[in-house]
Symmetry: C2
Subunit: 708 residues, 2 copies
Amino acid sequence: MTASANPAVESFHTQHAPFGAFASFSIGLVGSPGGFGQSLRGAGRQNVYVGYRTADRGALWQMLPFFRPPQSNEVAFTGADPGNSVAPSGFEMLEPARYERTLGWASDTWRAESGRFGFSLLSPFSQLPDPATLSRTAARFALAPVVTGWIEFDNRTGKTPVELMFGVGELDRLQRPVQDAGLDLPGFAVGPDFGYATARSSAVGQRLGFDVFAPKFRDYRGVHVIGGESALTFAVPAGQRKRFPLVLGFYQGADVTTGIPVRYAYAQFFKNLEDVLAHGLANRAKYEKIAAQRDRELARAKLDADQKFLVAQAAHSYLGSTELLWYKGKPLWVVNEGEYRMMNTFDLTVDQLFWELEWTPWAVRNVLDQFVDRYSYTDKIVAGGKLVPGGISFTHDMGVLNHFTPAGHSSYECDHLHGCFSHMTMEQLLNWVLCAVTYAEKTGDVKWLRRRQSVLLACAESMRRRDNPDPKKRDGVMKHDSARCGLDGSEITTYDSLDVSLGQARNNLYLSVKTLGAWVLLEQAFKRLGLKDDSAAARATADLLAKTVATKFEPDTQSFPAVFEKGNRSRIIPAVEGFVYPLYLGIKGATDRKGRFAALFDLLSKHLCGILQPGVCLDGKSGGWKMSSTSTNTWFSKIAISQHVVRELFPEAMTDAARAADRVHADWQRRPGCGEHAMCDQINSETGVTCGSRYYPRGVTTILWLRE
Amino acid sequence: MTASANPAVESFHTQHAPFGAFASFSIGLVGSPGGFGQSLRGAGRQNVYVGYRTADRGALWQMLPFFRPPQSNEVAFTGADPGNSVAPSGFEMLEPARYERTLGWASDTWRAESGRFGFSLLSPFSQLPDPATLSRTAARFALAPVVTGWIEFDNRTGKTPVELMFGVGELDRLQRPVQDAGLDLPGFAVGPDFGYATARSSAVGQRLGFDVFAPKFRDYRGVHVIGGESALTFAVPAGQRKRFPLVLGFYQGADVTTGIPVRYAYAQFFKNLEDVLAHGLANRAKYEKIAAQRDRELARAKLDADQKFLVAQAAHSYLGSTELLWYKGKPLWVVNEGEYRMMNTFDLTVDQLFWELEWTPWAVRNVLDQFVDRYSYTDKIVAGGKLVPGGISFTHDMGVLNHFTPAGHSSYECDHLHGCFSHMTMEQLLNWVLCAVTYAEKTGDVKWLRRRQSVLLACAESMRRRDNPDPKKRDGVMKHDSARCGLDGSEITTYDSLDVSLGQARNNLYLSVKTLGAWVLLEQAFKRLGLKDDSAAARATADLLAKTVATKFEPDTQSFPAVFEKGNRSRIIPAVEGFVYPLYLGIKGATDRKGRFAALFDLLSKHLCGILQPGVCLDGKSGGWKMSSTSTNTWFSKIAISQHVVRELFPEAMTDAARAADRVHADWQRRPGCGEHAMCDQINSETGVTCGSRYYPRGVTTILWLRE
C-alpha cells in the first residue's frame, strides 16, 4: 500500500465517472495503477500512462506516477526465464513535487513543466430532467457512458518537437484497436466493454504491445494486438501549443442485474462502445462547457479551499456509484453504496437527497416509489415481550452488486442481532417520510405526494406505534423494536458501526431528533394535502417529542446522553442532524431559535458548545470532528451535515478549533490513508485512515455548504 | 506460489469445463484457490470449499486444501480494525496424504476417510454432429455450459450424522441465491454469469455470508447476501450412504467478441444461467453416463498410468479453451490458445486435428473455412533481394481474447523480425493443406474438398514457389521468405520460442519433412478429386523433397542438422513430425519403411537412435524428451506426437531411457511447476517448470497414443 510510503503527501484516487454507468476511470494515487473499472469496489488495476517527452529531459518520457512498470509479458511467449525479463525503461516517474494537480467540481487537471504540460479529465454533471421525458438526442447527451478529457503541451518556446502520451495497460484483459469494430478513430478498447480514443490527426500515433515506451514488435499497422499495453502518442511541433481531445467510454449492453433483470438506460440509446466513443468525441465541446461551468460555480462559492476540495472529490465518487437502469420503458434509479455496492441504501438516499434534489429530483421520487412498490413491509413490534401490530416500513437497501433482493427484504439486515447487520425499521421509516416530504416540498410535486398520501398516513401511524402501541403512553420517542429482529434482537440506526452510543435505535437521541424532524415535515405535508387533523396531530406529536427530548438533558454535564438508557453518557454531534430537513425546506417555525422548539434549541446549543471541544467530539490528536465522543470511527458525510446545521442554527458552537477541522477533514481525504480508495466515509479520527465505506458516494452532503 | 512449497507433491489444477463455453471451474492445486473462470488465462481466484464434518474429527470441518482462509470482510462493514479481523476457524485443511485424487478422462474424483467421503466433477465429451444440424433438444444437451458433479459420504457404519460442504467465495464479486432469479433450487450465483446448485432436499442447507464455517449473521431465510462466501451443506444421517448432485453453470448472453461481434452458440438455446443450471440438474444422469463411458475407455486403453494421466489432464484443458460461437445462424468454432488466448492459432489446429476428427470433425472444417474466407492472403516472396509473386497462405491466428483481427491479419505476426512474433507463412500454408486433406480423407467429405479444390491447387502452387520461383531450381525445400516479413525479416516456424534450431523456416529440417507430409497428402487428395496430373506432380515433388532431405544427412554424426544452413548442428526430434499425417491416414506407400521413402526412413532412424539419448534429446537431468538438443525449452504436446511417430514408425529408437520418460512427463504436469496452470506445454526440461503455454489446450495430441 502506498499509504505507508509518505502519509503526508497529497495522493488520492479520484473517480472520473459518467452519470449513471456505475463505472469509473480512477487515477491520482501516487505510485498506483487505476484506470477503467466497471462496478468495482475500488480503483481498477490498470497501468495508466500519462506523460510527455521533450529533448531537454534527455528524451526520457516524463510520466505521471500512475503505473507500476510491468514485467513484460513477452517472456510468456518467448519461453525465456522470467528472471531475465526486462522491465520497460526510457521513462522517469514524476515525483509529486514536479507536478501540480487541481481538482475541480467536474474536472481533474495535472500540470508540469511550469504548466506547459497539461492533462485533464472531465466529469460534467448538470440539472437533468426525468430521463423518461427526454428526446433521444437529449438522452444520448445526458446518459452517454463517457468521460472526456484532453492532453496538451505548450511548445511555443520549444526548439524541438514534444511528444505526449496517454494509455493504459492490463495483462488479464488485452486491448484491441477501436478501428477493428468499425470506428475510424485512433484508440484502444478492452472487448466490447470499455476503451478510449482521440480524434483523427496526423499528429497521433498508436502503440499496442508489451511495452508502450519501446514497442519492439509491430505488425502491418504498427501495433501488436497480443501485447496488453496501449497508448496514444501526440506530436507537438516546436513553436506550437497543441491540445488533443481524449474520450473514455464504457458499455454493457446486456442485462446487468438479477432479481429484476434489466439493462443500463444508456443501452437504449447507444449501440455499442464505438457509438459511445464517437458521440463523446463529437460532443466534447459541450461536455467541456458544462464541466467548466461547474468548476466556476465551485470556485466562486463562499467556501475555503479545503471545503472546495471536499465538495469536488465527493461529487466524483458519487457519480461513480450512480446507476441508471431501464425497466419496462422507464428509468430505474440506483446509487450503489461504494465498496459495499448495496443498492439504494436508504441511509444514503436520505443524505444524498440534497444533492439529488439539485440535479436529478426525479431520482429521489424514483427511489421512493421503488421502496413503496417492492421494498416496503408491514411488521409487528415487540411490546412487553409480545408481538403486536407495528406498521409500514422499508428495507435498508434493495440488494447488492446488481442483485435486487426479493421484495420486502434487504441484502444487509439479519435477525436476532443487537449490533451491525440488524434491522433498521424505524430509521428507514423516517427516511421515507423525510425524503418524500422534502422531495415534494422542494420540487412542488404535490401530485406525487397526493398519490402517496396513504403511504404517508401509514408512516405516521407506524411512527406512533413504535413509540407506544398505547396512545396514552406515547412520548414521541421510539421504544419498540420491530419483530423482524426477533425477540432476542433489537433495531439499530444507520450509525451501526459506531459504538453503542449511536448504534441502538430505541431511546436514541439522534433518532429522536430525526423523528422530530419527520413530524415537522409531516405536519407540513399533511397541511399541503389538506389533511388538517393529521397535520395538527403531527404538530402535537412534534411538540410532545421536543419536550420529551428536553427532559433527557443532564444538568450536571450540560449535555444530552446519546441513549436514554442504562446511564449512557456518550456525547454525539448528530443530536442535531434531524434539523437539517426543516432547515433545508426553510420551515421557519421549526428552525427559529426563539420559536416553538426554543427550549430544546437552548439545550442543544449547550450540548454542542460543550462537545465541540478537543478531547470530546473534536479528536484530541487530529482535531477532526468525531460523531461520538466514545468512538474514533467518524463519518465524513455526516460531519458535513452536522457542520451545516451547526453553522446555520448553532453558530455559537463553532469555535476556532471546530472551524479549523476543515483542513483536517480535507487532509484525511487527500492523503493515502483514505485517498487510495477515492472518497471515504468511515475514518479513524486519530489516524485519518479509512476503516470502512471506501469509494463512497455519500460525501455529496457537502452540497449543503453551498447554501450557507 | 505453491510450487516452491514441496515440488514433489502431486498438486495440479484441472480445468473442469463445458464444451465450447471458454470457461472452466479449476481446482486441484494444493493450498490454492481456483473456481469459476470465464475466458481467463489461468485458474480463477475463488476459494473453493469442499469437505465434510464428522463427530470423530472433533466436529471440525475436514476441507480439501483449495482455499485460503479469508480475512473476514465483516470488518469493512463494522469499521473495526482489520488487524482484529478473525479468520474463519472450525476447520482443518486436509494434507494431500489424507486424500486420494483420481483423474479420469471425463472426471476428477477426490476420496478421503478410507473412501467414505467422495467428491467428483465431470466434464463429459462425446462425438458431436455439426451443431447446425442438431435439434433444439440435442443442442441443449450438447452445448449446455454446465459441469456436473457430486458429493457423497458413506455413513453406514457411522453413529452420528455427517455433514458435507461444497461452496465458493470471492470478495470482488458477491453471490446471490439462485432462487432470486426464479429457479427454485438451493444454490448461489455471481450476477447473471456463473453459479452452482443442487437438487431440492431437506438434507440441504444454504450458507452465504462472511464465513461459511460459522455464519454469524442470518437474514429471514438464513443467508447474508452481502457476505461473498457461499456453500451448500448436505446432511448424511448415521447409518446411511448419500450422494448429492452438483451442477456448475456459466452464462454470457450478449455479444462476447469484437471484430466479428457474436454470441455463444449456447445463448441460442438457453435463456439464462438458471435455465442452464436446471437443465444440468435434470440431465445429470445422462451426462454422468457419458463421463463414465469415457473414463472406462481410457482405463481400458493399452497405456501406462502416466500416459493415461496425461491423456486425461489434456482433455480437460482442451475443453476449457473451446468456444463455440453462433454467427449468422451457423456455428463459428474457436479454440483459444491457453494463457495467450489467441483464437484458432493454426499451429494448434493442426495438432488438435487428431482429437477433433474423433469428436467434432465439423469443427476442423469450420476453422478451415474461416481461414479461407477471412484469414487467407496472397503474398509476395523475397527472391534475390527482389519481391516476386508468392501465393496463398493463412494467418497464424484469427485474433486474441475474443477479438477477431481484421481479415488477412493475425494478432501475433509482426514485420521485420527474425525470431518470435515473425510471420509463419509457409508453416500455416502447410497447416491448411494438412488439416484439409486429413479432414476430408478421414471423414470422407469429398464434397467439401471439391468445393475447396481451387484453394488446394493454389496451396500446391504457393508451396512450390516458396521452394523456388524458378521451377528448374526447385528441390522441395522452402527457401524464400514471405515479403510480409520485410526485406529485413524472415519467416519462423511454430517452434519460434525454441532456439534457432527450430525457429527459422528457411532450410528447416522439421518444416521440410512436414512439407513432405503435405505433398503426400496432396497427392492423395488430388487423386481423390480426379486431378491426375496434379497428383502425379505432387508425388514427384514429394520424391524430390525426400531425396533432397536425405542429402542433408551428416555421415560423421549420423544425424540431420536442424537447419540446412550456417553449419547448424542442433538435433531435433520433430524431424519426423511430418510423418504423422500419412501415418494417421494409413497411407501405406508413404509410411512403409521399405517403400518409396525407404532411404530417408533409414537415415531418420539413425538420426532418432542417435539423439534419443541422455544428454542429447533426452534431458541429462530429468530424462524428459527435448524437442531440440540445444534448448531446454520443450513442448509436451509435440513430444506426444513425436512419441507416437517414433513408436509406430521407428520402434528401434525407443530405448528404455526414452520409454521411461512417460513418468517424467506426467510428473511435470502433476507437480506445481506446471500444475499451477493446469496443462502446460512449454516446459523447462531440466526443472519441469513451465516457461510458457500455460492453461493450454494442445495436450490432446495424446489421443494419437490410443491408436497404438
